[in-house]
């Protein structure tokens, strides 16, 4: 058993018994996906940080109502995303989200030839420009599903819609993105 990461349900059970360290471990596990989900919704790193922090605090307080054995990730994402949406609604402003590509290669990447790298970068930039230009509804479902790689249930939780709606919305959003990519000339 030694060295085995504790599973989520064990951590939740400990947290519900009052173990603050267990909840901190839950926060540590999911803070990145929660923060990025909030960032996609608010378009602001500062607002996303506040939303994620408030969401985790709210979830902590609501642990008694959390269903034993259920995965905490969708539940946490739902709470954080709600916080993020509330902020957007309350401030009545949404910052335009402009996702950008990271510069340079990630560790472990094989270095391509300069020509191949140039073409690949151009393709990625083009695709990202089209994603950024999508309507919010299309962009959120695509970024949740593919950029954050949320499951269907998690996407539903993050967007506050039924899981069945995620599928249909994703299908329509992808079709619109594909059509725009095909319509627009390269270069």
């Amino acid at each position: 058993m030694e060295g085995r990461p504790e599973d989520d349900s064990e951590l939740v059970a400990r947290a519900r018994r009052g173990d603050v360290a267990a909840y901190e471990e839950i926060v540590r596990r999911y803070q990145q996906v929660a923060f990025r989900t909030a960032y996609m919704i608010t378009g602001s790193a500062a607002e996303a940080e506040d939303a994620a922090q408030d969401g985790f605090m709210k979830a902590y307080r609501a642990l008694d109502g959390f269903r034993s054995g259920a995965p905490p990730r969708p539940w946490l994402l739902r709470i954080v995303a709600n916080e993020a949406r509330n902020r957007v609604r309350s401030t009545q402003r949404r910052l335009g989200l402009e996702l950008r590509l990271a510069e340079g290669f990630r560790p472990g990447d094989a270095a391509p030839s300069p020509e191949a790298a140039s073409v690949a970068a151009e393709d990625r930039n083009r695709l990202l420009r089209f994603v950024n230009a999508l309507d919010e509804e299309d962009r959120l479902v695509i970024t949740s599903r593919y950029f954050l790689e949320l499951s269907g249930a998690e996407t539903a939780a993050a967007l506050g819609i039924p899981e069945g709606t995620v599928k249909s919305r994703l299908s329509r959003s992808l079709a619109r993105l594909r059509a725009k990519l095909e319509e627009a000339p390269r270069g």
């Binding site: 603050v20 922090q53 990202l128 993105l177």
Partner: protein, 288 residues
């Protein structure tokens, strides 16, 4: 999986996301104390459900769903959580011991990146403007509460005294002493007086005050004659009172200046003014 979907997943791995903050370190979590009960404290104000009982979690029922304004929700959150994001503490990493201690001063404190700007205070009498309750005398106030109202000998008798009725105050009452002007202490723009001292007493699990601190405000643990306290200084912070149920009282939200909060044998004392730390500690030490 279609090519476009594969491209999107690959693209997601290449994105330049903002750095994820270490929320686990910054989010202060109070210990969840379940099923502990202490004896309700006797008082002239009638006891309310929950008095003397440490609730599971901190504050059931204060979230209030999605209604209310942004600030109300934000402050409600701050008030219920008794959560302190301790970014301002020197070490940025509070010890576990510090967690329990925060509860003693019945104050919810939240660290935020962007401090909310409260609406300007409406014109009117001081008590109304600052949400202090009704004006009274020290003698009358003493008859209304069961606990001892401390008077700082270094400041002398207060110029005005206010008593907050139970519906809008901690279960055992809240008294504010006003020192309009005092030598060596400039009048604070946030209050219009030199020093405000608010004393309150209520259920052990109840919050009386709330604070929101921006990046320019510091927070420091202090000790006054063996009583634990916290010194909040620097840039103005946002302050609010809570009602008898610990709920945020929207109308009392205002900017506050340097403040010392301490636990004086079960009475929470809050000293606010354009004070140095030494002046605040001196005032606190002279409470008698």
């Amino acid at each position: 999986m279609a090519e476009l979907e594969q491209q999107l997943i690959a693209l997601g791995a290449e994105l330049d996301w903002p750095a994820t903050p270490d929320l686990a370190a910054r989010t202060y979590l109070p210990a969840r104390r379940s099923h502990q009960v202490t004896s309700p404290q006797a008082g002239k104000y009638p006891a309310k459900p929950g008095d003397g009982e440490i609730q599971a979690g901190i504050a059931h029922g204060r979230w209030g769903g999605a209604s209310g304004t942004y600030l109300e929700r934000r402050w409600a959150l701050a008030a219920v959580a008794v959560v302190i994001a301790l970014a301002a503490l020197v070490a940025y990493q509070p010890s576990r011991d510090a967690i329990a201690n925060w509860l003693n001063v019945h104050t919810s404190i939240q660290r935020v990146l962007h401090l909310a700007t409260p609406s300007p205070q409406p014109p009117g009498p001081l008590g109304e403007r600052l949400g202090l309750g009704g004006r009274t005398t020290l003698t009358a106030a003493r008859k209304q509460v069961t606990w001892h109202i401390g008077i700082p000998s270094s400041l002398g008798q207060p110029d005005e005294v206010y008593l907050q009725p139970p519906a809008d105050a901690p279960a055992q009452g809240e008294v504010t002493l006003v020192y309009a002007t005092r030598p060596g202490i400039a009048v604070a723009g946030q209050t219009g007086v030199s020093v405000l001292i608010t004393e309150a007493r209520g259920a052990v699990n109840q919050n009386f005050f709330g604070k929101m601190l921006g990046p320019g405000t510091t927070l420091e643990e202090v000790s006054v004659a063996g009583h634990q306290g916290y010194w909040i200084a620097g840039a103005p912070n946002v302050f609010f009172f809570t009602d008898a149920n610990g709920n945020f009282r929207n109308e009392t939200m205002r900017l506050a200046t340097n403040t010392l909060i301490l636990d004086d044998g079960g009475t929470v004392v809050r000293i606010e003014g354009n004070l140095t730390k030494a002046q605040a500690l001196q005032i606190a030490a002279s409470l008698g």
